[in-house]
């Protein structure tokens, strides 16, 4: 058998004191410190090119108001290629900072504007590249962003990644879902699309027992996916499988995030943010229980392993055998998975952490042959 020769790159780091590690197809940061506590990150690649991206940024959230300190966490689950998720990881946090600086604070509007402008700029890139690289029009990404600031946690979501809060309760911990998801297999997402497109009988199509928007995609909101937002891309040379038979005038997918705001209480222990690759194998409560009952060091990798064990079980194979499968063909066994666990302290851990902002990016550059 050919020896595996793939790996995810070491991640981009701007902070040398926070090394991240790579083990085969897994990228991880077992434990780090953000403004309000500790965190742990892990990712695993299944596609031939890693389509998930993630980041954590901690420190000032504006350019002009040093008292607005906080933590920004992003999980970006790309599809059709890695370009959209990489674009989000490059752009959304600077945009958030820009809009937060205008109002000198974090708000729901600031976060929503950062999503909208990231999508708008990505579509500009698609337009620019259309003559030479038309398949960019079919690349998109889910975008889950969490901002912890001033005792509040903002969770903004476009797509089907998920954020779950662990709240301690009578000796245990209860899972509280903070994100609202947009997947055609959720009743709420279908109702929304049907009400937005009352005159389109094929807006949602059931295919092999799964609902898909226009029969092609399961998420009902996303960043990118230009071919479902602007009719100008619904033509050659876009691949036939992405072309819709009829012309449309109104965008089919939107990039608007659903935003929830939660005031943190002393009972709130941690938040798990992960791509759907994790949640299709672990329930909210299972994930929260694992975090509550395990040491903090390496908790994200522990969750990853629990999900992979479950994936192996469903595929009727051994976990040790699953880990031998190369990326690419591996997508038939599980999805790319990203998980970030952010522990919560009601107050900043130490004031001097303000002086050294933290910035960690996972999943980039992609695998390379060595």
């Amino acid at each position: 058998m050919v020896k595996p020769c793939w790996r995810i790159g070491a991640g981009m780091e701007r902070s040398k004191i926070n090394p991240t590690k790579v083990d085969g197809l897994t990228w991880y940061k077992d434990l780090g410190l953000h403004t309000f506590g500790e965190f742990s990150m892990a990712m695993i690649q299944a596609n031939s090119v890693m389509e998930d991206q993630c980041q954590i940024e901690s420190g000032p959230l504006t350019f002009n108001n040093p008292t607005v300190q906080g933590t920004f966490v992003g999980v970006y689950d790309g599809h059709g290629g890695p370009e959209a998720s990489r674009f989000i990881a490059d752009n959304i946090f600077p945009k958030l900072k820009k809009f937060a600086s205008e109002g000198r604070e974090i708000s729901e509007q600031v976060i929503s504007k950062a999503f909208a402008e990231t999508d708008k700029d990505f579509l500009k890139t698609v337009t620019k590249q259309w003559p030479t690289n038309p398949q960019m029009a079919s690349v998109g990404s889910c975008c889950l962003a969490g901002v912890i600031c001033n005792g509040l946690v903002y969770i903004a979501n476009t797509g089907d990644s998920r954020a779950v809060l662990g709240r301690s309760e009578r000796g245990g911990v209860r899972a509280v879902q903070l994100s609202v998801e947009h997947n055609a297999n959720l009743e709420s997402a279908r109702q929304e699309l049907w009400s937005l497109h009352p005159n389109d009988p094929t807006i949602l199509v059931m295919k092999h027992r799964l609902w898909r928007v226009k029969g092609v995609i399961q998420v009902t909101r996303s960043i990118g996916d230009a071919y479902l937002k602007r009719a100008e891309f619904n033509r050659e040379p876009l691949l036939p499988k992405f072309r819709l038979p009829e012309h449309f005038t109104k965008p089919i997918l939107s990039a608007d995030p659903s935003v929830t705001i939660t005031r943190l209480s002393p009972q709130d222990e941690f938040i798990i943010l992960a791509s759907d690759g994790l949640w299709e194998h672990l329930s909210n409560q299972e994930a929260v229980d694992i975090v509550h009952n395990s040491p903090r060091q390496g908790i994200a990798r522990r969750l990853l392993k629990a999900a992979l064990k479950e994936a192996a079980k469903k595929r009727e194979m051994r976990y040790s055998d699953l880990t031998e499968i190369h990326p690419g063909v591996r997508r038939h066994f599980h999805d790319d998975i990203t998980v970030i666990v952010v522990y919560l302290n009601p107050h900043p851990v130490k004031t001097n952490s303000w002086a050294s902002p933290l910035s960690i990016r996972g999943g980039y550059p992609m695998h390379s042959t060595s």
Partner: protein, 148 residues
């Protein structure tokens, strides 16, 4: 260039021939080599070491050595499964063929065919699965969320 009609005919012929020897099989990895042995043991959900599992639309379970995942014909079979059923996270992989056809394909894979035969086989697989589509309803897995 090989004529598509001819290929379709070939595929049908294979299916008929394989039908003569309809039986339930599973593959077990030998400890010293990656060659496979055919056994007639009844299907079980025991987890075979060094193997992955696929089901056919007639619900027959096949366990293959992991090395089969490096085979281009097998890779194509998985792609076809993805196109037909999507990437389902909630259960085992199902290929949109019946067991007879899969058994016949395996024989070809084991014989290590040359490049041209492999190309012809890949093309004929794509044509053959069209005739399998009505059977897709037989695979009874529950609905899952996935991928995108």
């Amino acid at each position: 260039m090989i004529n598509t009609k001819k290929l379709l005919k070939m595929a049908k012929k294979w299916q008929q021939r394989a039908a003569l020897k309809r039986k339930r099989i599973s593959f077990q990895r030998s400890t010293t080599t990656t060659t496979t042995t055919t056994t007639t043991t009844s299907s079980s959900t025991a987890v075979e070491k060094g193997c992955f599992v696929v089901y056919t639309v007639d619900k027959i379970r096949f366990a293959f050595p992991l090395s089969y995942l490096n085979n281009s014909v097998f890779e194509e079979l998985l792609k076809i499964s993805e196109e037909e059923f999507g990437l389902r996270a909630g259960g085992p992989i199902t290929l949109p063929f019946d067991s007879v056809f899969l058994e016949y394909l395996i024989k070809f894979i084991e014989r290590r065919m040359d490049g041209d035969t492999e190309k012809a086989l890949l093309m004929s697989i794509s044509s053959a699965r069209c005739s399998m589509q009505p059977q897709e309803q037989q695979s009874g897995y529950t609905q899952q969320l996935l991928v995108f």
